[in-house]
């Protein structure tokens, strides 16, 4: 009987693993669709390689750091190399790590050297992600933090562990590498650089949404008791509602602000909802989920504009807004909307405080380490391709090929 339960848990987690893996295809399509045709193959290659490097390195060392016996007062797990043991857990965690890693390729797209991107990938899989992960999921200090009656940072499926970590790396990387040529005028006005395939971008969003039905419900890590069954059913609902409402709200806001409903921003809106609900998907009610979606759908529009127009950081696909900002927002909102510990349900500010501390701590960790990593890469091998290479396109210059060899591309771009 207990055996059966273990098998059922395993089936569930592996089902979820496959779906989360498939999110790699979603990221690849979103990132390539939202950027230019001349860099399409390069983005693909970066997505493929961060997954490959991540899979390898997380097995070699990352998983141990994240889930090894707690040491140094909750700061890091005791690493072992070449993990062998609970393979189901290993593979499930591997695809989560790879998700965090792949977020950056979007924000640094169209100008980052391929070799430098590989170095970054190595670093996030080897220590940036595993250590943040250890704090929250690996039994580290955040998982046992206790304030005002509430205990433990709540990040059910990784709004912070995965998305906020990835989003902060994306922020640091994009800030250090600087904007694409032509993105800002001399006066600092932002220019539009349209993506080359909204259909592929949209396909990517649908794939990601699909994958999220592994990401969130899979994080229950079990499907063998009545409670599990109830929980995973509810998580499907909260996940879906948040995404749907976020997309709707983003569409409405862009319609008002820009006169027309913006397609690519609305696609980002759906992802914003998904990222935001990830932390609280198990803790909030459907109504809470809808509200979280509505907030995320609002935040994303202003967030992306803020990054683009105020910070003047060039993030071609909106990765910082979607994963960074909405990852943080979603995590914080657990402190409001959690049915068992949230402020709005009369449980005081304890949970909210823990959530805030967690976000700040992880933010500080990632900003610092990512800054060091990207600066080091920049000073040594260099982060950015040459101006000439950027103009011609990374496909030809970095990989010697064209992604769309049979199609006439627009050489002339007047704006």
């Amino acid at each position: 009987m207990d055996d059966i339960k273990i098998v059922m848990d395993t089936i569930w987690v592996l089902f979820a693993t496959a779906l989360v893996f498939f999110m790699q295809a979603g990221f690849a399509m979103v990132e390539t669709g939202f950027t230019r045709a001349k860099n399409a193959g390069n983005i693909i290659m970066k997505n493929l390689m961060d997954f490959s490097v991540g899979s390898l390195m997380f097995w070699v060392i990352g998983y141990g750091l994240m889930y090894g016996a707690d040491s140094f007062g909750g700061l890091v797990g005791k690493p072992g190399f070449f993990f062998s043991g609970d393979y189901t857990s290993l593979i499930f965690q591997t695809v989560f790590c790879a998700t965090a890693a792949t977020i950056v390729s979007g924000s640094m797209a169209e100008r980052t050297k391929f070799i430098s991107y590989l170095c970054y990938s190595f670093c996030i899989s080897v220590f940036i992600y595993p250590i943040a992960g250890h704090w929250i999921w690996g039994g580290g200090w955040l998982s046992s933090l206790s304030i005002g009656g509430a205990t433990g940072f709540v990040d059910f499926a990784g709004s912070t562990v995965v998305h906020f970590v990835g989003g902060m790396c994306a922020l640091v990387g994009a800030a250090i590498i600087g904007p694409r040529i032509g993105k800002y005028t001399k006066e600092g006005k932002s220019n539009a650089i349209p993506g080359h395939s909204i259909t592929l971008g949209a396909l990517g969003v649908f794939i990601l949404w699909f994958g999220w039905f592994g990401f969130n419900p899979g994080s229950q890590l079990a499907a063998s008791s009545l409670d599990d069954a109830y929980a995973i059913g509810k998580i499907f609902v909260t996940t879906n509602l948040a995404a749907a409402v976020a997309a709707l709200v983003t569409m409405i806001i862009t319609w008002i602000r820009y006169k027309k409903p913006d397609v690519s921003m609305t696609l980002n809106g759906a992802l914003a909802g998904l990222v935001a609900i990830t932390a609280g998907c198990a803790a909030v009610s459907p109504v809470g989920a809808a509200l979280i979606g509505a907030i995320a759908g609002t935040v994303i529009v202003f967030g992306i504009e803020f990054v683009d127009k105020v910070l003047k950081i060039d993030d071609p696909v909106g990765a910082i807004g979607v994963h960074g900002i909405c990852g943080a927002v979603g995590t914080l909102l657990v402190g409001l909307f959690s049915e068992s510990t949230g402020l709005l349900y009369g449980h005081g500010v304890g949970q909210l405080a823990i959530q805030a501390i967690g976000v700040l701590a992880v933010g500080a960790w990632v900003l610092t380490t990512a800054f060091v990593v990207f600066k080091l890469i920049d000073k040594t091998i260099g982060l950015r391709v040459s101006k000439e290479e950027e103009l011609i396109g990374l496909d030809l210059e970095e990989h010697g090929m064209e992604s769309y060899a049979d199609f006439e591309l627009r050489g002339i771009q007047v704006r």
């Binding site: 539009a192 602000r257 992306i304």
Partner: protein
């Protein structure tokens, strides 16, 4: 030998089908079409992409080139005007160029016979 001329019509892509039919009717069979981008009196517009304003300055236009000799240029121009004129900005322009010679590769014929 009568003079050979090239008539170059730049207009809305959506009118090309009608134009082709009309020119066929006046006896013109050889034509060459291409896509171009134009800017003229007709203005583009301003849109938003992900919250960033941008303007579309160049409009897609179609070009039709016809090298004629026996069919009088005036007839071609009149036919084109008839089909294309809507009176609204964007109707396009016709340019007329001199041609020195024409050769039909398949037969090697030159000049009028090559048309």
């Amino acid at each position: 030998m009568s003079e050979i001329t090239k008539v170059d019509i730049i207009t809305r892509p959506s009118k090309i089908e009608d134009l082709k039919v009309a020119l066929n009717e006046i006896g013109i069979t050889g034509m060459t079409f291409s896509n171009v981008l134009g800017c003229g009196l007709q203005k583009g517009k301003t849109e938003y992409y992900r919250g960033t304003e941008y303007s579309i300055d160049l409009l897609p236009k179609a070009r039709l080139e016809i090298v004629v000799c026996e069919v009088p240029v005036d007839l071609v121009v009149e036919t084109a005007k008839k089909v294309l004129r809507t009176g609204e900005i964007g109707d396009g322009k016709i340019f007329i160029y001199p041609v020195q010679s024409v050769i039909k590769i398949r037969t090697g014929e030159e000049g009028v016979k090559a048309l």
